[in-house]
Structures are given as structure tokens and as C-alpha cells.
């Protein structure tokens, strides 16, 4: 009598599919074993109600009779999960033992003719064996029999778990975002994140670890069901063995619902889980550019079915945590840097200033009582601090620094607090923005007035000394001239004296230019010989390494070159325009070897008697240089070889 409640053959072509799978199950069920009895004996109201339930697309279960015998449709069978199809024909209190109290009340109210409605009712069900939080909209209404007496209860059951979870996830993430905005300390961020996720997922423990390039843990917090720990004992990467570590490194999440039954785990791994009291585990790694940067994990002591939602939330929290930690680290670094900068500014005796990118605006300047302070943005700083005649020099240096995005550095005059002239060594570096453009300039300027004054004083002293020395040389020249006047060869004598005084004076000039520190060998030779080849520079070639000598050696070499040149001008290579002098030198083993070579001059005849020049070169120079000098009047041209230890003449460092 399957057609007796109108489920079959009523729609042409409907066949046995009418009422869906549940229609077939209901028709084939042995109802005789139940208080309802065989279908044929069902009252019309039950048949009608059953047809209504089976043909509805909305999940509906009917609880018939005082025991609440369950008859439900396809949509409800999905909701029933693992309980289906055992639920069909069973008593509601037995079919859903975990919510028996709730259903007892439903039956009581419904069978009394009342209705019940619940919105987003939270229930814990064990549809698949494991505990599950579910939310449902529940509507209960009585089904009346022919006499108008409630014979059963119809329940429309719409599960809202997905919507509720989505809402809760959104709320949770929103709250997490609020927390991250509030917290600035990286450790506190991870502490809050793990705690909030732990409470959200209702797990036993949640931990977060950030890794650096060497895979060293840099941030780690672990929340254990209400207590926060910095749990160095837990290594989130390696805690379950190398195979799981390798998978995490590659970005694969670890999802274990039940350690004991999980076929993907080997015995060693299972033992590792057990040793840590973990029955179910979820771990999401964050991998960036192929490198593991963080792991977020959640532990549960017994089995638990992790949902797709759990993993999504965990991954989202992990990513937000990492971002917040990184942001906080950057902010902390900036704050520390600013504090250090402030401390530096306070501690520094330098003038500190900030300029706009184009230097038109001076934003701030702490003048240290050297120059005036500027506390408000100033566009007239150039006029305020720099004297008109120096402004171009300053702006030129600024333009160059801006063009090259390179540090500005200039020693220049400034108007001091009291209006007088001061000197400053000013340096500024450009701060570049994200796009590499100059955002502003930070500068420091030190007061070098005293040094400049000392330098100026020293320069005047050296000038005065030079003047005295030169006047003295000229006076000697005068005296000699007076003394030899009228004597035989007086003109030769005077010429010889004049020439040597001149050489001495020129060496003096060279050293004065170098502040009496050192002079280069090239310059010494050039200074001594240039006057002899005036107008025919080709006659002279000077080549050798750059080497510098102290004043004493420089003067001795200068005089020696002068004597050689004097001889060359009188008898040697410089006495004809075809003559050449080549001076070369090299350094090796801390010794200088210098060669003077004349050629192209008249045939050389050795002097009968060695004169002043020869003596000065062969004996005086060797003595002064602590070296050896060999002078050879070779017929083809005079040669002179000088060898000396470099230590004798090298500048003291």
C-alpha cells in the first residue's frame, strides 16, 4: 500500500523517485516494528504530513507520537550526517542522545499544541563521532490528527553553522585587527594573537614562532589554555620529526584530526605527538620567497575534526601576526633610531639642522649659541646666516649635492649670533623616500672658527718668515756684491752667489707651498731645473714614481739639481739646444735609485779641479741623504747616480 499516502504514481513519470531517496527509504522501512505500525494502517493525517515532509526541499523532520518517531526528508538526511539512515524510525531522544533534554522539551511543548522557534541555536552534536558545534534555526509546530489533537511535531531544521562561523570569523579577525592596532610590542602581539586564536578555536594550546634567515626562532609565544608561555621547549618546526618539518618548510599545512588513526603518520611521529600530549594538531607555515618565515600551530589533547574554516582562520591569523610583528619591529627600530638621534642631537656640540628637499626651507636649526636658532620654517635662512659674497659658493655646493643626491659638505663663513664672522664645517645627508627621491636633508655644522683663525695666523707667520728669509738672502747677496766689488772676477763671483741663493730661495718657495711638510721629487727637480730650460722644455724629461721628501732632503736635492744644471748649462747638455737631460728614478727595497743622464751636448771633458758643484753633489749630498752619489764626466754626457734609503727622506707618518 505504498501509494496509500500519495507518494507514488501521482505524478506521471515520477516513478519511485517521488519523495527522493528518503521517499524510497520510508516506503521500504519496516514500520510494523515501530509504534506507528505498517504504513497501510497509518492515519490519513500521518500520511499527509509524511508526504509534505518528503516533498519539501527544506530540511524537515517529523517526530510522530509521544516517542517522537523520526521521519525526515533528503535535506534533513544531509544535516543528520553519520546518523543517517539509522535515525529513520528511531525515537528522537535516542536518536540524538546528546540533545535529549532539548528534544524532550520540544516534544512536551509540541504535543501540548504549542510551537517553538529558535534562531541560531547552538548545539553540540556528534554526527561523525567527534564533537561539533553547530548552529541552527529551529521551528517546531504540532501536527494535528483528525480530531484536532497533536499527534506529532514537525521540525524545520536549517543549519546556520556556516553563516555563524563566517560571522564569528569576521568578528574575530576584526577584534584581532583592533588588538594589533593597539599593541606596539612584537612579543605582546604574538601573545594576544595566540590567546585569541586559542579561545576562538577552543583548543588546548596555540603557539606562534617567527624565523629568521637561519631558521632561528626570533619571536615565540605559546598560549596554553589560559596561560602564556615563552616555551623554548617547543620547537614548532621540528617537534614532530623531520618529515613533518620538511613539509612545513615547503608551505604545507599539518592537519591531524586523530593521531591514533591518522594513516599518514608513522610510529615515531605518533610517539612524538603522544609524548607531547597532542591528540589532534593543526599547523600552518608561512613561506615567503621560498623561505619559512613563521609557523602558527594549534594543539588539541584528543581527536578533533579540524574544519576548513579552522585552517583558513589559522592561516589568516598567522599572516596578520607576521605582518603586525614586522610592522612593530620596524616601528620599534624607527623609535629607537629617533631616540638615538635625539640623544645624539642633545649630546652633540654641533649645530643640527633640517632642510627641505630643495633647500629652500630651513625647517629647524639648533644653533648652540654659535649661530642663531631657527625654530620655525625659514625661507630666508641664506640671507640670515650667509654673507652676501659667500652665498653663491654655498648655493653652488647645495645644487651639486641635490643633483647627485650626495652628501653636502662645505667649509664656509657664517654670521654668528653676535653678527661677527665665524667659520663652519657643514655636512648634510639627503634622506631618500621610497621612490629614491630626496625627502629632506639632515645636517650638522661644527664651529671651526678657532681652527680657521689659527690657520690664518699660521699662514701670516709663514708669510712673515718667508719674507724675512728672502730679505736675508737678498741682504747676503747685497753684502757679497759690495765685498767683491772691484776684485778680480767679481762678476763671476756675484753670478755664482746669486745663482745659488736663487736655488735656495726656490726650494724654500716649494716647501712653503706645501706648508713645510713634504715636497714631491717631481716638483723638487722641476723647480730647480725649469729656470735653465726656459723656453725649451723639451730639453728636460723627468719621470718617476710619486715620492715625497721631508724639507731637509728636499732642500739638499734641490741644491744638487741646481749644481748639476749649472754645470750642464755651462759645459754640458744645456749649453746647446740639441742637448737633453733625462732624470728617472725608481724605488725598490726601501731605496731610491735616481739617474741623471745628459746627452746631445758637446763632448765632456772632466774638470781639472773639482769645484763647488762637484763637492756639493758628491760629498754634501751623499752626506745629507745618507746615501751614495756617483758623478761621472763621461764623454757622451755627464751622468749622476744617486742612491739613498727612503727612510731618510720619507715623511714621518
Amino acid at each position: 500500500m505504498s501509494e496509500s499516502f500519495g507518494l507514488t504514481n501521482q505524478h506521471p513519470g515520477g516513478g519511485n523517485t517521488t519523495g527522493g531517496e528518503m521517499g524510497a527509504l520510508v516506503r521500504g522501512y519496516d514500520w510494523a516494528r515501530t509504534p506507528l505500525g505498517p504504513i497501510a494502517a497509518w492515519p490519513q493525517c500521518l500520511k499527509t504530513a509524511t508526504a509534505l515532509v518528503l516533498n519539501s526541499a527544506v530540511p524537515i523532520v517529523m517526530l510522530w507520537g509521544p516517542d517522537g518517531i523520526m521521519i525526515y526528508n533528503d535535506a534533513y538526511s544531509v544535516f543528520a550526517g553519520g546518523r543517517h539512515p539509522r535515525l529513520l524510525g528511531s525515537k528522537v531522544l535516542e536518536g540524538w542522545p546528546e540533545v535529549a533534554d532539548f528534544n524532550a522539551n520540544v516534544m512536551k511543548v509540541g504535543m501540548a499544541g504549542g510551537t517553538l522557534a529558535y534562531r541560531d541555536q547552538e548545539l553540540t552534536l556528534y554526527r561523525t563521532g567527534a564533537a561539533e558545534q553547530v548552529w541552527m534555526n529551529l521551528d517546531y509546530s504540532p501536527v494535528l490528527d483528525e480530531s484536532g489533537t497533536p499527534a506529532g511535531v514537525i521540525a524545520i531544521v536549517i543549519e546556520t553553522t556556516d553563516r555563524i562561523l563566517a560571522e564569528r570569523r569576521l568578528n574575530f579577525l576584526f577584534a584581532l585587527g583592533e588588538e594589533f592596532r593597539r599593541i606596539t610590542d612584537p612579543t605582546e602581539i604574538t601573545a594576544r594573537a595566540t590567546e585569541m586564536l586559542g579561545r576562538q578555536l577552543r583548543v588546548a594550546a596555540v603557539g606562534y614562532a617567527g624565523f629568521d634567515e637561519q631558521e632561528t626562532i626570533v619571536t615565540e609565544r605559546c598560549w596554553h589554555g589560559g596561560t602564556m608561555q615563552n616555551d623554548a621547549a617547543v620547537d614548532p618546526l621540528n617537534r614532530f620529526g623531520p618529515r613533518i618539518a620538511a613539509a612545513l618548510r615547503q608551505g604545507h599545512s599539518l592537519i591531524v584530526d586523530d593521531v591514533e588513526s591518522d594513516a599518514t603518520l608513522d610510529d615515531a611521529e605518533r610517539a612524538a605527538f603522544a609524548a607531547q600530549g597532542v591528540g589532534a594538531a593543526l599547523a600552518v607555515p608561512l613561506v615567503r620567497n621560498g623561505r619559512l618565515t613563521a609557523i602558527l600551530y594549534a594543539d588539541y589533547p584528543t581527536q578533533r575534526r579540524w574544519t576548513r574554516d579552522d585552517e583558513v582562520v589559522a592561516r589568516d591569523v598567522a599572516e596578520r601576526t607576521r605582518a603586525a610583528v614586522e610592522r612593530a619591529a620596524v616601528e620599534t627600530a624607527i623609535r629607537d633610531s629617533e631616540e638615538r638621534f635625539r640623544a645624539l642631537v642633545q649630546a652633540s656640540s654641533d649645530v643640527i639642522y633640517q632642510m627641505s628637499a630643495d633647500w629652500h626651507e630651513l625647517r629647524e636649526l639648533a644653533g648652540r649659541n654659535f649661530i642663531a636658532d631657527t625654530t620655525h620654517v625659514s625661507r630666508t635662512w641664506l640671507q640670515d646666516y650667509i654673507f652676501p659674497e659667500d652665498q653663491k659658493q654655498v648655493t653652488d655646493a647645495i645644487d651639486e649635492a641635490i643633483r647627485g643626491k650626495s652628501p653636502f659638505e662645505l667649509e664656509h663663513r657664517v654670521r654668528r649670533v653676535d653678527g661677527t664672522v665665524g667659520w663652519t664645517l657643514s655636512r648634510a645627508v639627503p634622506l631618500l623616500d621610497r621612490n629614491g627621491e630626496i625627502a629632506q636633508w639632515f645636517g650638522a655644522a661644527s664651529d671651526v672658527t678657532a681652527r680657521r683663525q689659527t690657520q690664518e695666523h699660521l699662514r701670516l707667520l709663514v708669510d712673515e718668515l718667508n719674507h724675512r728669509v728672502k730679505n736675508t738672502l737678498a741682504t747676503v747677496q747685497s753684502i757679497v756684491t759690495q765685498v767683491v766689488r772691484g776684485m778680480p772676477h767679481s762678476e763671476d763671483v756675484r753670478g755664482a752667489i746669486e745663482s745659488r741663493l736663487g736655488a735656495l730661495s726656490r726650494s724654500h718657495d716649494l716647501l712653503t707651498r706645501e706648508s713645510w711638510e713634504t715636497a714631491s721629487l717631481q716638483d723638487i727637480a722641476d723647480q730647480a731645473l725649469r729656470p735653465f730650460v726656459d723656453g725649451n722644455a723639451d730639453q728636460l724629461t723627468i719621470t718617476g714614481d710619486e715620492i715625497r721628501f721631508r724639507p731637509k732632503i728636499a732642500l739638499a736635492l734641490g741644491m744638487a739639481f741646481h749644481e748639476l744644471a749649472t754645470n750642464a748649462a755651462k759645459y754640458g747638455a744645456l749649453s746647446t739646444s740639441a742637448g737633453r737631460i733625462v732624470i728617472t728614478w725608481s724605488t725598490a727595497d726601501d731605496r731610491l735609485r735616481l739617474q741623471w743622464r745628459e746627452r746631445g751636448g758637446p763632448a765632456v771633458v772632466p774638470p781639472e779641479k773639482k769645484g763647488f758643484g762637484s763637492r756639493l753633489i758628491e760629498r754634501g749630498l751623499a752626506y745629507d741623504l745618507d746615501g751614495s752619489v756617483r758623478l761621472d764626466y763621461a764623454p757622451a754626457g755627464v751622468t749622476c747616480d744617486i742612491e739613498m734609503p727612503l727612510a731618510a727622506g720619507a715623511p714621518k707618518t
Binding site: N466, K470, A474, T475, E498, G502
Partner: protein, 123 residues
């Protein structure tokens, strides 16, 4: 040696060291020149310029016992008299505005003095 172009030229000398004045005097004589006047102090030198005319050229020591001879240089320039500085400062010892003037480095030789004076008088 009196066939030289400097023959008979009157040279004005400003120099505070007597020995150097004597040297210049001897050298000028050798070149066939005549010492028009010698002064050791700037004010004295400026006053001496009109009295010593005609002057063909002048040699000025820059440092006159703590004073400089730039005022004298200006007075000479105003009178159109060519001059050279004699100095021990070196070529970079000249004040701005005078750097283009000829310089005779002390101590100078007879040849150098001759060259400098010839240069001044030719102009």
C-alpha cells in the same frame, strides 16, 4: 754695456732694507739705469713720486716693516708709472686686485731684474 735699452732709465725703489737698496743701486747702475729715488715708508714714497719725476718704472717691496706698499702702487698706477713688486712671499702673496702685476722674487739676479724692468718699460 751702455747700448742696452734700459740705458738712462730712471727707476723708483721702495724698499725698507738698506742693504737691498744698495744691491738694487749697484744692479741698476750695471744695467745703465739711474736710481730716481728710494723710500722705506709708504707715505714718504707717495710724497716722493711727484718730486722724482720723470720715473720710468718702480720696484716695490710689499712688506715695509709691517706696512704694505699697496697705497704706493695705487699712486704709481694713478700716475701711469709701471711697477713690479719685489717680494719674498711667493707669487700667491699678492692681495686681490694686484695679482696681475709683475713680481720679482727675492733674492733676484741681475738677469731677472733686467728682464722685469725691460718688460715694464716696453709696455
Amino acid at each position: 754695456m751702455n747700448d742696452k735699452p734700459l740705458n738712462g732709465r730712471r727707476i723708483f725703489v721702495v724698499e725698507d732694507e738698506s742693504a737691498i737698496v744698495m744691491l738694487l743701486e749697484d744692479m741698476l747702475e750695471e744695467l745703465g739705469c739711474e736710481l730716481a729715488a728710494a723710500s722705506a715708508r709708504p707715505a714718504q714714497a707717495i710724497a716722493a713720486i711727484p718730486r722724482s719725476t720723470p720715473i720710468d718704472a718702480a720696484i716695490l717691496d710689499i712688506n715695509l716693516d709691517g706696512q704694505t706698499s699697496y697705497d704706493v702702487a695705487d699712486a704709481l698706477a694713478a700716475s701711469g708709472i709701471p711697477f713690479a713688486f719685489a717680494t719674498g712671499y711667493g707669487s700667491n702673496g699678492l692681495k686681490d686686485g694686484y695679482a696681475h702685476r709683475p713680481v720679482l722674487q727675492k733674492p733676484f739676479t741681475l738677469v731677472e731684474l733686467e728682464r722685469t724692468l725691460s718688460h715694464l718699460i716696453q709696455r
